[in-house]
Subunit: 340 residues, 2 copies
């Protein structure tokens, strides 16, 4: 038997409690402004009718949604999961709701998602990375919607960022690798087009080579989507060249795990026959054998700080300064010390 009562509105509650709609609204939004006795009556009516405010109407009238939107490049693997979790926890603690969308690393889709989230009234937006069509930032500015970019640190940009320096991080890891005696270095990079993290990591590695007198332009680089299978294929490709690398450095841990599998499938052992490094330090990196040497990124802290910073801007407590977080090299078994 379907329940044909329609959904209760503010009016219904007001009538049931014998007060005006204004009073009901106040009970819900600033309870201290209505006297105990009335409030009780209203709350009872709310309870009895099972009233839930209509979000659309509320947004339209109040211009605030207490909703934050986040668009991440992918949900297929766990790269962004931990940070997002922390982000959402912090948001929740402060009374905000998180709406998540993913862009499959495609700027066009990201743009669509941004519009969808904005249309839904997001009070602020969290995006990954920083490089995108200026028109998007223009669009958001015209609507006064604060944006915060995570996973990068770009103090000079107009939009605030919360993250680390991808280029420097990769340079540091590269230096470490070189210090271990590696000279024949190859890279499996994510697709750099439209991905500032991927580009920065590639450039960072070239930096390291250059400052050690190694020809960076001669370094073999394969660009491929962040997937295990493509990582495996790329490694096999690299290891079939005449001048086999002694180390294959990957743009992230997913590629690294793929590379590891690729090596195993070729009958190569890691790190004896070839070393492998990753980036991000997601759980995956510690699951495989050998565990992956990688750049540790403070996922949890990044998520939490991003939430703090974004809400501060939304609530006009700050105008948005960038926050730099530290990344560290995480040494594990997949990288061999040739000097040892």
């Amino acid at each position: 038997m379907p329940d044909l009562r329609s959904v209760p509105t503010l009016d219904d509650v007001a009538r049931a409690a014998g007060v005006s709609t204004a009073t009901v609204s106040r009970c819900l939004n600033s309870p201290e402004r209505v006297v105990e006795q009335t409030r009780k009556r209203v709350m009872n009516a709310v309870e009895a009718l099972g009233y839930t405010p209509n979000f659309g109407a509320r947004v339209m009238a109040a211009k605030r949604t207490f909703t934050i939107g986040a668009i991440i490049p992918t949900m297929e693997n766990a790269i962004f999961a931990r940070a997002l979790q922390a982000f959402q926890e912090e948001l929740h603690a402060r009374g905000y709701t998180l709406l998540v969308a993913s862009s499959a690393y495609q700027p066009k889709i990201e743009e669509e998602q941004i519009r969808a989230l904005v249309a839904r009234g997001a009070d602020g937006l969290l995006l990954i990375g920083h490089d995108r069509d200026p028109a998007i930032y223009e669009y958001l500015r015209a609507r006064s919607i604060p944006v915060l970019s995570a996973w990068v640190y770009a103090p000079d940009s107009e939009q605030p960022t919360v993250g680390f320096d991808n280029r420097r991080s990769m340079r540091v890891l590269g230096q470490q690798v070189i210090d271990f005696g590696h000279r024949r270095i190859a890279m499996i990079s994510g697709i750099t087009r439209g991905n500032d993290r991927a580009s920065a990591r590639l450039v960072g590695l070239r930096d390291a080579l250059q400052s050690n007198g190694i020809d960076a332009d001669a370094m073999p680089v394969i660009e491929t989507p962040y997937e295990i299978d493509t990582g495996a294929a790329a490694l096999q490709n690299l290891m079939q060249s005449d001048r086999k690398p002694t180390v294959v450095m990957c743009g992230n841990d997913v590629l690294a795990v793929g590379a590891l599998r690729g090596a195993r499938e070729m009958g190569l052992s890691v790190p004896e026959d070839v070393s492998i490094t990753g980036f991000d330090d997601i759980e995956l990196a510690r699951i495989v054998t050998p565990q992956i040497t990688t750049v540790h990124v403070p996922h949890h802290e990044m998520g939490r700080k991003a939430a703090e910073a974004l809400i501060d801007i939304v609530e006009k407590r700050s105008t948005g300064a960038s926050v730099e977080l530290k990344s560290t090299v995480q040494m594990r078994g997949s990288l061999r010390n040739l000097n040892g």
Copy 2:
């Protein structure tokens, strides 16, 4: 220099194009109903002003959002990622937007998220699993919001489901294990309270034991959250008993991977010293060495079919029949054949 023009509205567009708001609205929603020439004029104005419809207002007036909400237990690992991805692709292809929230496996949080999504006008909801407080289904019914449960197949329930039979799947895997000569079987289960998939899998395994004359009540079972670390701890716990199991069957792949690590940490080799099985067949299961024997679940198909089915209900093309998908046992290296 901040842009102080306020966000353009339908009215602005109408004025700019020299037509009424109704015409503009029609241009946007049913373009075939307005003549070419007018439409062009309107579209130009839309473009020029950078107009984006206000979602809240649209919802309030039209009672439709073309938004589907999904609440998954966790985003921390990839269990639901593939299916969700397929779900979202199908939705997108049909003009719907997906809003995702996660509940951390907590019914209270799930309920909160349901309300948040409903308040935001979700036209339909995708939930994982089927057992929950009847009051929630009541709440949704009163608002005529279709719900569809995935990851389970429950043809007799009032709500439609798209998934597979967890109990039978685990029974089949259990039978396979028994056929391989295992008799000392232990299980690491997810938390069964409030999780019908976890309970069904446990019961399914007991079914298998029973029908082979093994005392199911004597089977050691450890319930623990779906995490790698807890899986590792549970395995070590089980392997320290007097009567060590020859196989540890896990409630999902995350636990299985944890168990594998736990075994390795104890110096046990898998599958020589102990066999391990998982459930779900997520990428993780193929990344570790040895690869995990598990129950393969048609993630992609489940996501896609769920989207199809849910939209059909939302658009009143169907009243919602459950769809059963097939799971299959995926044999890999982590399970040893004792007869061999």
